[in-house]
Amino acid sequence: MNQAISMSDAPPLRDGAHTDGTAGACAAPFESGSDSPGDGCAGTMAQHLCVIRSNEWVNDEYKHMVVSAPAAALAARPGQFFHLECPSGQRGTAYLRRPMSVYRIEPADGRIEFLYKVQGVGTQGLSEMVAGDTLNALGPLGHGFALPDACDHVLLLARGVGLATLAPLAGHAVAAGARVTAVLSARSRALVMSEAYLREVGAHAHIVLDDDRSSDLVPLEAKLRVLHGSNPFSFLATCGSNRMLALLQRLGAEWCVPGQVAIEQLMGCGIGACHACVRPFRAEGDVGRRSYRRVCWDGPVFDIQETLPW
């Protein structure tokens, strides 16, 4: 396995030579629906050997992994993901890789972060990794979020682990000059993550919870209407809940505001070859026709109106 494996350049850049994460990278490496790799990003996708810096619990269910990543991996954009080789753990060895969104990219620090829920065999294996271990990360893969040209106010509506996918868009949108409002939905206060990180990058974070029913659809819709009323959204992004997706589709259509959603699906290859990761989508411009698209290659970020709640 000595092909196209890049090693993290140690030591990571810590100051000087500040590389902007956006420079040279592209949000949409390949044209959606096409099989041919575009020219723009050719060569950035690779198996990267990343050295773990830390891998800590953030609450009872989620862990936060920080790795040193080589330059090509640092070209990852918000919404893109890595396909991770999971080491053997207490529940055994995962046969296939596991997809994981980039939760934070800090090119200046040579650092990528993941936020993940420990679920089954693969994430259990990841959870047992310790500082100094090497993570084989294939990527960056897929299409990230694409903000519209004129973008004043971005809504991030995240549920549960969907936050891991949306979080990096906050800083990215702020850097692009937009105001960012993040609405975080969780079962309970203890499960709300990243509020501080979002505020740090300049987003306005609101919390809605199952505990006090503020996450129910009716109060949530009311809250979004108020937010939109006081400062109209120009882009809606969501991840992690089917019901929230349906709500944003409705509101987006009513307000004529575009949006995107990041979707999950079980994956085989992660690079468009196996067609295992499809979901049905509405054909562009033809609401009656559906077709399958590959989450790994045509997504995982899709137009909010073309996506079918499942």
């Binding site: 092909q3 080789e85 079980l266 085989g268």
Partner: protein
């Protein structure tokens, strides 16, 4: 310098390693130089445009995967317009894989590919997801014979039918394919299998049944490849659970001339160049100058009669 080249009928490959149909696509070109491959095999196409089956399409086991994809296809025209030109930028021979509903359609699509730059055509008569009277062509020696004849006469290209491990009579099917003029056999496609989620009572792939692939299937696939290689004179291309140079060697020792790597490409997109490197290293370590000298080199255990006279056992 180890000579890795092998002869597959009228084609000579620089090395015996190629992707298994459906486990490799344009995206793989990002990970290594495709010129390193012995041949390039593309995903099965049909001439008509197909969506494939609903998700979930994959279930995973400790050492195997269950996929049910259903041959989504953008059709023959797209293949000629987009896929062929993409891969013709690389030097290894391009092998198309096709499937169809009838013998005639197999012929028509094969004919369409003639002169396109495709070097040979794999006949996917074995896909467990395509149903025709509930029975795949590849389960039936006569049907396979007809498919090969139709494709050969329509295209003039070398035809490589791909055996299905679900047939109890694979050797019969292999002999029929040889008789029909196949230039090589690919042995084998995925094994029909299923799995149920005991919490939801639902099948783990939406199509209920799918193809079991990956490391765990290797001993079965090796047995079938061996049986076919014993029976036919034409070269056999082994496939099933191959992930390393040692796996590839196992198939070559059993009589295969070349091998295909499938599911292992998902685990590492550089699995194929690694297999090539490991084959080279093995030959160097063992002082083997031509890899092809290992084809069929398995040495059975000497028979040890138990009830022998005084002679030492």
């Amino acid at each position: 310098m180890v000579d890795l080249s092998v002869n597959l009928g009228s084609l000579t490959l620089a090395n015996p390693v190629m992707p298994a149909s459906g486990t490799f696509a344009e995206g793989n070109a990002q990970f290594f130089d495709l010129n390193r491959l012995g041949a390039i095999v593309t995903k099965t196409i049909t001439d008509d445009i197909r969506d494939g089956v609903p998700p979930p399409r994959v279930a995973e086991f400790r050492d195997a995967t269950l996929f049910s994809i259903g041959i989504p296809s953008k059709g023959g025209d797209y293949y000629l317009k987009e896929t062929v030109p993409f891969y013709r930028r690389y030097s290894p021979p391009l092998i198309a894989s096709i499937s169809a509903n009838t013998i005639e359609e197999f012929g028509t699509l094969a004919g369409k590919l003639a002169g396109s730059g495709v070097a040979a055509i794999e006949a996917n008569v074995s896909c467990p997801n395509l149903k025709k009277d509930g029975k795949a062509f590849g389960m039936d020696a006569e049907a396979t014979h007809q498919v090969v004849c139709a494709m050969k006469s329509a295209s003039g290209l070398p035809i490589w039918p791909k055996m299905t491990p679900n047939a109890g009579n694979v050797v019969e099917v292999a002999l029929a394919a040889e008789e029909a003029g196949a230039e090589a056999l690919v042995v084998s496609n995925a094994i029909l299998a299923m799995a149920i989620d005991v919490e939801t009572f639902r099948p783990r792939v939406a199509n209920m049944m799918g193809g079991l692939t990956g490391a765990a299937t290797k001993p079965i696939m090796l047995r079938i490849a061996y049986q076919c290689a014993q029976a036919v004179q034409i070269p056999v291309i082994g496939c099933g659970g191959i992930a390393s140079g040692a796996d590839a060697l196992e198939f070559m020792l059993a009589g295969c001339t070349a091998i295909q790597v499938g599911t292992a490409n998902f685990i590492s997109p550089t699995a194929m160049p690694s297999v090539i490197d490991e084959l080279t290293a093995f030959c160097e370590r063992r002082g083997i100058s031509a890899l092809r000298s290992l084809i069929g080199a398995m040495r059975p255990h000497e028979p040890i009669p138990l009830q022998q006279g005084g002679a030492p056992l």
